[in-house]
């Protein structure tokens, strides 16, 4: 791997940037790996990276149906925060946020992590009470989150209208200052480059079509469009397609796959300094470094694999944005798209063992997986390497739907999860 540094940048600039080369190899699959990861999104690549760096397991393949950065990793609204209500979720997302804070240096790759703050607006008494509860719960868990009056919200985010004349008046907000955004596909590229450098094979255009089990029921490898690949352990990290993959091993999952849409506007000069979320009207908004307003919509009401979603869903989101920020009513939207997210009944992920020996799963991140990428990969690598969960992902078992120990962020996080 060619490291990025001031000297390498200077020397390449003199050579017209012709000497950078590929950031990761395009290897032929080997007949067998110690660990095969199905799904080359951010979570899968992070898992491979931490398997290699933390646990010294480098005989690893990451199988990707499409191309790196082409799935949900490149489709989200790039928001990173850790102000979750319940202890289990708070520990998970805070673990991720701490890794985000050093990730560009760790990967030697600029993921453009920007801790510009996430401000969650309260529009009614219920919001105020609920967010204050979140603030207190977060502080008990050592996570920064503070309550701002509406004047303090205005000072932090000048585009806000706090006059009270809006249909949804701003009564205050909860601000996590360490939260922010990152360049989403750079995260996938950075992890891919780092993992590849340590010997991990990243195999693109390789779709898994079956999971082979031996006479004792153990998973022993995967059938793919590029032939059979044997595996000591298999980690399925496939977001919306997890149900489909797990059914190949005869495991039915408590998951439903929904389209989730996002859209961006034409690029404009810097006008919006932070991330603003409004759960009550279901809108969230930030401005990318390119100048586009990045807007996230809600999921469609029915399960689908169409990667499109209904136009009325995005229209509804834009209604909410225009209601909150009338100054954006004349902005033109450039692109909209959908990704397929896997949603669990309690809106918390499943990370750990499955009933099939040697088959592990990391799924159910629903509409909020991007922010967890480093933490998810880190604890899943631990689970794959040792065969037992890390203490942070221990509560996120598949078995919790049998025992009843749910982590019910569905109720806690309202809508914008």
């Amino acid at each position: 791997m060619r490291r990025f540094s001031l000297t390498s940048l200077l020397s390449e600039s003199l050579r017209g940037h012709t000497g950078w080369g590929r950031q990761w190899r395009a290897p032929e699959p080997k007949p067998r790996y110690d660990v095969v990861i199905v799904g080359g999104g951010g979570h899968g690549l992070a898992t491979a990276y931490y398997l290699a760096t933390v646990h010294g397991i480098t005989n690893v393949a990451v199988l990707e149906k499409g191309w790196i950065g082409g799935g949900n990793t490149g489709r989200n609204t790039t928001i990173i925060r850790s102000n979750y209500l319940y202890d289990e979720s708070a520990a998970m997302y805070e673990h991720a946020l701490k890794l985000w804070e050093g990730l560009s240096q760790e990967l030697n790759y600029n993921i453009m992590f920007s801790q510009r703050g996430v401000l969650m607006l309260a529009h009614n008494v219920h919001d105020v009470q609920s967010f204050k509860r979140h603030v207190y719960a977060n502080r008990l868990n050592g996570i920064d989150n503070e309550w701002l009056s509406k004047e303090e919200c205005k000072a932090f985010c000048p585009p806000l209208d706090i006059s009270g004349s809006l249909r949804y008046p701003v009564l205050g907000g909860a601000l996590q200052r360490r939260a922010g955004t990152a360049r989403h596909d750079a995260v996938a590229w950075g992890y891919a480059r780092g993992a590849d450098d340590r010997g991990v094979d990243i195999i693109q255009n390789c779709e898994v079509t079956g999971i082979r089990r031996d006479a004792f029921g153990r998973a022993v490898g995967v059938e793919t469009t590029r032939g059979f690949i044997g595996a000591g352990r298999i980690g399925v990290v496939a977001a919306g397609h997890t149900s489909t993959l797990m059914s190949m091993a005869g495991v039915s999952m408590p998951l439903e796959s929904y389209p989730l849409q996002a859209l961006v506007s034409e690029p404009v000069k810097p006008c919006f300094p932070c991330v603003v979320m409004s759960n009550a009207v279901h809108a969230y908004l930030s401005q990318s470094d390119k100048g586009e307003l990045v807007i996230g919509a809600g999921t469609d009401q029915y399960t689908s694999y169409s990667q499109q979603g209904g136009l009325h869903i995005t229209t509804h989101t834009l209604d909410a944005i225009c209601e909150l920020f009338p100054q954006f009513t004349r902005m033109r939207m450039l692109r909209s798209w959908g990704g397929i997210v896997d949603v669990t009944p309690d809106r918390s992920p499943i990370i750990g063992k499955t009933p099939v020996q040697n088959l592990f799963v990391n799924c159910g991140w629903g509409t909020g997986g991007f922010k967890a990428t480093p933490g998810s990969g880190h604890v899943f690598a631990h689970t794959l390497a040792t065969g037992t969960p890390h203490k942070i992902n221990a509560p996120f078992t598949l078995d919790r739907f049998r025992t009843g120990r749910l982590i019910d962020e569905a109720a806690a996080a309202a809508v914008a999860h």
Binding site: P254, Q301, Y302, T303, Y305, S306
Partner: protein
Amino acid sequence: MLLIACPHCGKRPETEFRCGGQAHIARPADPMTVDDGAWSEHLFVRANPKGVHAERWCHVHGCGRWFNALRDTISDRFIETYPMGAKPTQFPQSETRA
């Protein structure tokens, strides 16, 4: 936006309807004999197929009645709608591939 054929009202836009999730889920007949695993299956595990899916829909902003539908989850095309309590007349394989 999808056009959905309500069995009672005919084709109407999707925004008039609410999706009620997977159809034909039967509550365990004798709940006292069901163990935790089977309850978990009943409460939480859903088919989530990539292909043809049987669902319940309600025409909330119309006649207000529930009905069943077969929909291809890859193309989102509705194959058939049929009344509650009935079975679909056809159950084709998915005709599309994402």
